[in-house]
């Protein structure tokens, strides 16, 4: 019941937010005298190269995950971790993503892609993976880049906070997707 109501509210947000942002951004830019189409082309070019740059990540990680699952190693691994998985409520298929998410953004994206390919983008697992991928950023990468840029060596509690936030995001993604998309 609550899931249904939440679903319709979230669904309206999901359907409206992108078109509204596009409409608003285009009109705002146009009336501020921006060369809208030229700017679009400039950004679009970046989008193309960005996608192509993802190929190595996706090939490397999807091969590794594909091997790991189809060899039967994943099954053994998830059986070993079954108590933990039951305790946290994270589906076993999602576990590799949960591990990879704070470590490498490109690799996590590759695992998400693999889950969607294998189980379907509209499956519950596919949606949990998507929500999880979208809800946090790559903690270790950001820590390295930001602190590295100014030569900070003692990072104090930053890593702990980042990882706790990741865990919260992961659990929230599993919980909310089960509530909204299950059944």
């Amino acid at each position: 019941m609550m899931g249904m109501a939440l679903f319709s509210v979230l669904n309206i947000i999901s359907v409206w937010v992108v078109p509204c942002l596009i409409l608003f951004a285009l009109l705002y830019a146009y009336f501020r005298g921006i060369k809208v189409f030229d700017t679009f082309i400039e950004g679009a070019r970046e989008g193309f190269t960005m996608s192509v740059r993802l190929i190595p990540f996706l090939v490397g990680m999807m091969v590794a995950i594909g091997l790991f699952r189809d060899s039967g190693a994943m099954e053994l691994f998830t059986n070993l971790l079954a108590p933990l998985i039951r305790f946290l409520g994270i589906p076993a298929e999602i576990l590799p993503l949960a591990f990879m998410r704070p470590i490498s953004g490109g690799s996590a994206l590759a695992i998400t892609a693999e889950i969607m390919k294998t189980y379907g983008a509209d499956s519950l697992l596919g949606r949990i993976a998507a929500t999880m991928q979208g809800s946090t950023d790559t903690t270790l990468y950001i820590l390295t880049v930001y602190f590295g840029a100014v030569g900070i060596k003692k990072t104090r509690y930053a890593l702990t906070v980042g990882l706790l936030a990741d865990l919260a995001g992961i659990l929230a993604a599993v919980f909310i997707c089960n509530l909204v998309f299950k059944g």
Binding site: T39, A73, A121
Partner: protein, 211 residues
């Protein structure tokens, strides 16, 4: 860490297949997975190209300043002790705004600039200040309204309505960001209390030197 996980997964898989007498399946899996990966990226290209174009328009139009205006009260509360017109505050606001709009590429340069400005306010250049940790907490939990890459990925793998995870993502991202802010507050107070009780000396020396 990525290296270990990657090598680990492949090694375990191959040894496992060997022990089970399934070694002949390894090569076909490699080919199939690699092909899958490239086809996913080809599906991504269309939407990423369009979306980054739109993002560039948002970036150039100064639309971000509207978002920043709304973020100001939050930023002042999150980063105490930084003058409101300081360059660090400006860079942090740009960073938060860019993250919120899903412009990850634009957010990182602002974040690094903010770190540089924060470093000028730092007494101990090798140790992170409380405000730096807060900035990191915000960025690692990344409060995003529109997860663009994921929507593109869902479209590329055949989702009927690729955007239908925006709602759930907003809930999850809020949860993770609120957790980050709450934990950061707790640690911030704990550490400032610890610093005060343990090392009162260096501060007074520094203050004396300045005078």
């Amino acid at each position: 860490m990525v290296n270990l996980l990657w090598v680990g997964m492949i090694t375990i898989a191959i040894i496992f297949a060997g022990l089970n007498g399934n070694m002949e399946m390894i090569t076909p899996i490699i080919f199939a997975s690699a092909e899958n990966a490239v086809s996913v990226v080809f599906g991504l290209i269309s939407i990423m190209t369009f979306w980054l174009g739109i993002m560039k328009i948002i970036e150039k139009s100064g639309f971000i300043h509207i978002v920043i205006f709304l973020l100001k009260p939050l930023a002042y509360w999150l980063f105490p002790g930084i003058p409101r017109n300081h360059k660090a505050m400006n860079a942090m606001l740009m960073n938060m705004g860019a993250n919120l709009l899903g412009m990850g590429n634009a957010a990182t340069p602002f974040g690094i600039k903010a770190m540089e400005k924060l470093q000028t306010l730092n007494d101990k250049p090798d140790t992170a200040t409380a405000n730096m940790c807060t900035l990191l907490a915000l960025n690692t939990s990344s409060l995003t309204l529109i997860p663009t890459t994921i929507i593109a990925l869902r479209a590329a793998t055949g989702a009927l309505n690729p955007g239908d995870i925006i709602g759930t993502t907003i809930i999850a991202t809020f949860t993770s960001s609120l957790t980050a802010i709450a934990c950061d507050r707790i640690f911030r107070h704990y550490y400032s209390w610890k610093d005060k009780t343990r090392t009162p000396l260096p501060k007074t020396i520094k203050a004396a030197k300045r005078n």
